[in-house]
C-alpha cells in the first residue's frame, strides 16, 4: 500500500507544473541545493573550531548547547513560513478500501522526510563526527545527536499541530525577542541577574551529560505524533480536517484611500490582495528581512574599505518588497487576469497603480531604515541614495521584467521551500542583474574619481533622472505588456 502511495507522490512531484521546467533551471536548482547542503556541512565541520575560538574559556559543546535554544526557535519561525502542511489529494482515497489509518500514517510520515528535518542533519552530523574525533565520549555524543534529531521532530509535529496558528507564531517571535534582548543586555553588562544562554543551555547540557535523558525528547516526539494522528483520525471527513477552513470575514474600510483618486480602486484591491492571501503575505514578511541586509555588511570592518559592497547592500535595504513582490507583477493577478483584460481598465492605470505600490513600499522601507544612522550618516546617506535609485530606476526595471514573466501564481498557497521555481527563470535572472549591478557601477565610478560623496550623489541623481522619464518608461512598458497580452492570458489560464 505504502508503495502505491509513494508512486502517486512521485508522479505528483514529477508532473507538477514547477518541475516541468527547462533543463537549465533544474541544473541551477541542483547547484543551489548542493551549495546550501555543502555550506551546512562545512558549517557543521568547522563549528567546533569556530566555537572554541570565540569562546576559548568554554568547552565548545557547552557553548553549542547554550545557543541551541535559538537554533530551535528560528527553526520554528522558518517552519511557520515555509513548511507545507501534510496535504495529499486524499479525497479520491477516502472512498476506496484503504485503511484510514494507513493514509494518516503516510501523511504524517511524509512530513518527516522534509527539508526542514534534514537541514539539522547536515550540520549536526559533521559536528558530532568532529566531537568524536576530538575524543569526546561516543555514548554522550551519539545520544546527544539523537536528542537533537528527536527535538527536531518534536518541532515538526508541534508545527503541524499548531497548524500555522498566528498566536503560536507571535509567541515564538516574542520569546526570541525577549531571550535575545536579555542575552544582549547581559553581554553589554546592563543586566547581570542571569545569562539566558546559560539557563537554556542547562537543559541541552543535561541532555549531553546524562545521555539516558535522550528518552525524554524521543517520548515527546512519539507522543506528539500520536496527538497528530489522533487529531486527524477523528476528523477524517470532508467537512473537517481535510477541508479548508472558511473563516468569517471581517472587512476593513479602506475608503480613506479614495484620496488617491482613480488609482485608489487598484490600490485598495492590492492591499486586500496582499493581506488576504497566503502567498503575497509571505512575500511581504520575507521582504521585511531585506531591511537587515545592511547590518551584515556594515558591522564587518573589512567592508568599510569596499564601498562597492556597501552600495550593493544599501540598495537591498529598501528593495525588499520591490524585488520580491515586483518580480511577480502581473502574476499576482493571474487568477482573474481575463476579467481585468476585458473590464473597463486602461493598461496604463493598472501598471501605474502597481508602480505606486512599489514606490510606497520603498519609501516605507526607507523610513524603517532610520536606525542605520547608528552606523554613521554616510551609511544612511547611501541608503537614501539607494532608495532614490530604487524608486527612479529599479521600479521600472522590475515592472518591465514582469512583462516577460508569465508564471501563474496561486494566491492562497504558500510557496514551497526550494521547490518554488515560480519567477525563477533565466529571464528573471537576466533582469535581476541590472537591478543589482547598475547601482554599484553608478556609485563606484564617480567614487573612484571624486570620492564617496560623489558616488552617493550620482546614485541619488540617477533616481531623480529616472523619475523625470517616468511617463516615457511607463509608456514603453505598457507597449511591452500590450504586445504580450494574449500570451500572458493563455499562460495564466493554465493556473
Amino acid at each position: 500500500m505504502i508503495r502505491t502511495f509513494l508512486s502517486l507522490q512521485w508522479k505528483e512531484f514529477k508532473r507538477s507544473a514547477s518541475f516541468q521546467k527547462g533543463i537549465a533551471i533544474k541544473i541551477l536548482l541542483i547547484f543551489a541545493a548542493l551549495y546550501f547542503g555543502s555550506f551546512a556541512i562545512l558549517l557543521g565541520a568547522f563549528l567546533f573550531k569556530i566555537l572554541s575560538e570565540f569562546f576559548p574559556e568554554q568547552d565548545p559543546i557547552t557553548t553549542a548547547n547554550n545557543y541551541l535554544i535559538f537554533w530551535f526557535l528560528f527553526d520554528l519561525v522558518f517552519r511557520y513560513f515555509m513548511q507545507q502542511m501534510p496535504v495529499m489529494n486524499v479525497k479520491p482515497l477516502m472512498i476506496i478500501p484503504i485503511k484510514q489509518k494507513t493514509i494518516i500514517h503516510f501523511l504524517l510520515g511524509k512530513t518527516m522526510v522534509s527539508f526542514f528535518n534534514f537541514l539539522p542533519l547536515f550540520i549536526f552530523i559533521p559536528f558530532s563526527i568532529v566531537l568524536l574525533v576530538q575524543g569526546y565520549s561516543p555514548v554522550n555524543v551519539i545520544l546527544w545527536f539523537l536528542a537533537i534529531v528527536a527535538i527536531t521532530y518534536v518541532l515538526n509535529f508541534t508545527n503541524i499541530l499548531a497548524n500555522k496558528s498566528n498566536t503560536v507564531f507571535y509567541i515564538v517571535l516574542s520569546v526570541i525577542a525577549v531571550l535575545a534582548g536579555l542575552e544582549y543586555l547581559y553581554i553589554n553588562e546592563y543586566f547581570d541577574a542571569f545569562k539566558v544562554s546559560e539557563i537554556c543551555g542547562m537543559v541541552f547540557n543535561a541532555l549531553y551529560n546524562y545521555p539516558f535523558l535522550v528518552l525524554i525528547p524521543i517520548v515527546l516526539a512519539a507522543f506528539l505524533y500520536y496527538l497528530n494522528f489522533d487529531y486527524l483520525n477523528k476528523r477524517f471527513y470532508l467537512d473537517d480536517a481535510i477541508s479548508k477552513k472558511v473563516k468569517e470575514v471581517t472587512t476593513t474600510d479602506l475608503s480613506w484611500m479614495n484620496r488617491f483618486g482613480k488609482l485608489a480602486t487598484f490600490l485598495k484591491n492590492d492591499v486586500r490582495m496582499i493581506w488576504r492571501n497566503k502567498r503575497p503575505k509571505q512575500v511581504l514578511f520575507m521582504s521585511g528581512f531585506f531591511l537587515f541586509y545592511g547590518v551584515i555588511f556594515f558591522v564587518q570592518k573589512q567592508y568599510n574599505d569596499m564601498p562597492g559592497f556597501l552600495a550593493f547592500a544599501s540598495i537591498f535595504v529598501t528593495a525588499g518588497f520591490l524585488f520580491s513582490f515586483g518580480q511577480l507583477v502581473p502574476s499576482w493577478d493571474s487568477e482573474y487576469y481575463k476579467m481585468l483584460m476585458s473590464q473597463n481598465i486602461p493598461y496604463r492605470k493598472y501598471l501605474e497603480s502597481k508602480w505606486y505600490l512599489m514606490v510606497l513600499a520603498v519609501f516605507i522601507s526607507f523610513l524603517l531604515s532610520t536606525p542605520y544612522i547608528y552606523f554613521g550618516w554616510d551609511k544612511y546617506a547611501m541608503i537614501a541614495a539607494g532608495a532614490s535609485f530604487n524608486i527612479g530606476i529599479n521600479s521600472f526595471v522590475t515592472l518591465f521584467g514582469g512583462a516577460l514573466n508569465r508564471v501563474p501564481v496561486k494566491l492562497n498557497e504558500k510557496a514551497k521551500a526550494f521547490s518554488n521555481t515560480q519567477g525563477f527563470n533565466p529571464t528573471q535572472l537576466l533582469i535581476a542583474l541590472p537591478k543589482m549591478l547598475l547601482p554599484v557601477i553608478i556609485f563606484y565610478i564617480p567614487y573612484l574619481i571624486a570620492g564617496l560623496n560623489a558616488g552617493i550623489i550620482s546614485l541619488a541623481l540617477s533616481g531623480v533622472v529616472g523619475l523625470l522619464f517616468r511617463n516615457f518608461f511607463l509608456k514603453k512598458i505598457e507597449q511591452v505588456y500590450q504586445k504580450g497580452k494574449y500570451k500572458t492570458i493563455e499562460a495564466f489560464g493554465e493556473n
Binding site: V249, T265, Y336, M341, Y486
Partner: protein
C-alpha cells in the same frame, strides 16, 4: 452592434472556429448553442479580445476589438469563475466593478437591490470571500456584476450551468427583461436548448467551429433544434465506432 467578419481561429492544424460573416444588430437577444468543442467560448473570447484571431476581425459598435480598447467601457461579460476576484467579498467585488465603470456606491447598491430575489439571501452580507462561495453562488455574483454600469453589450457564457432550478427561472426572467430594452444587446451561450430558446430572439448553432443554423425564434424553434442535435449525436456516434 457587433459585426463578425471572416473570423477564424486555428491552433496548429486544427481550426476551431470559422465564421465568414455574422451581424448582431443592436438590442438583439442572441443565443449561441452547440456541443462541447463547437467553438462557443472561443467566439466569446475573440469578442472580448482575450485570444488573437487567426484571420479576420470583430467590430463592436464599429471598433475593431483587437486594435483598440475603446469597446471596453460599454461591454461587460461573465465567462467563468476566473472573472471573479476570489479574495474579495461579493460586496467589495461589486463596488470594485462599479468603480471601474464609474458607478458610485449608491448606484451599485440600487442595482443590487433589484436582484435581491435572484441572490436568494446567499450573496450579500455573508461575510465570506468569493472563493469560499459555492460554484452556483459564485456564478450569481459574476452574472449580476456584469450588469453593473448599464453596459450596451452583455456577454454571458453558459449562465444557466451550475444554477439551481429556481435561480435558472429567475435568470431567464432577468435576461428576457434585458432583451426588451432595445439598447442592450445580450449574447448568451448554453447547452440547454429550452432555456436558450426561451430567452433569445435569434439562435445560432455552432458545430465544429462553423455556423450551421441561424434562426429567428418561432414556435417551431425548439423542435427544430432538438431534431438537429439528435441528428448530429447519432452521426458522431457512428463515426466514432468506425
Amino acid at each position: 452592434m457587433i459585426t463578425i467578419d471572416n473570423i477564424s481561429k486555428t491552433y496548429g492544424q486544427n481550426t476551431v472556429l470559422k465564421i465568414d460573416y455574422l451581424k448582431i444588430p443592436k438590442g438583439q437577444s442572441f443565443g449561441l448553442v452547440g456541443n462541447n468543442g463547437a467553438g462557443k467560448t472561443t467566439l466569446f473570447s475573440l469578442l472580448l479580445d482575450l485570444i488573437q484571431p487567426t484571420t479576420g476581425h470583430i467590430k463592436n459598435n464599429g471598433i475593431k476589438v483587437h486594435e483598440s480598447e475603446k469597446w471596453k467601457p460599454f461591454t461587460s461579460s461573465f465567462i467563468d469563475e476566473s472573472f471573479l476576484i476570489g479574495y474579495l467579498t461579493p460586496e467589495e467585488y461589486f463596488y470594485f466593478i462599479g468603480e471601474l465603470r464609474n458607478q458610485n456606491k449608491a448606484d451599485v447598491d440600487a442595482l443590487l437591490a433589484k436582484f435581491e430575489d435572484f441572490f436568494h439571501g446567499e450573496i450579500l452580507n455573508q461575510k465570506k470571500y468569493l472563493r469560499d462561495l459555492s460554484k452556483g453562488n459564485q456564478k450569481k455574483a459574476g452574472i449580476v456584476a456584469s450588469f453593473i454600469g448599464n453596459p450596451d453589450v452583455i456577454i454571458l457564457d453558459e449562465p444557466f450551468a451550475n444554477l439551481d432550478p429556481t435561480t435558472q427561472i429567475r435568470l431567464k426572467g432577468i435576461i428576457k427583461k434585458l432583451a426588451e430594452d432595445s439598447n442592450t444587446t445580450v449574447l448568451v451561450s448554453s447547452h440547454d436548448l429550452m432555456h436558450v430558446t426561451e430567452v433569445s430572439d435569434r439562435i445560432v448553432v455552432l458545430n465544429k467551429g462553423e455556423v450551421v443554423k441561424d434562426i429567428v425564434k418561432s414556435a417551431e424553434t425548439l423542435k427544430e433544434l432538438e431534431m438537429f442535435f439528435a441528428g448530429t449525436d447519432v452521426e458522431v456516434q457512428i463515426s466514432e465506432e468506425e
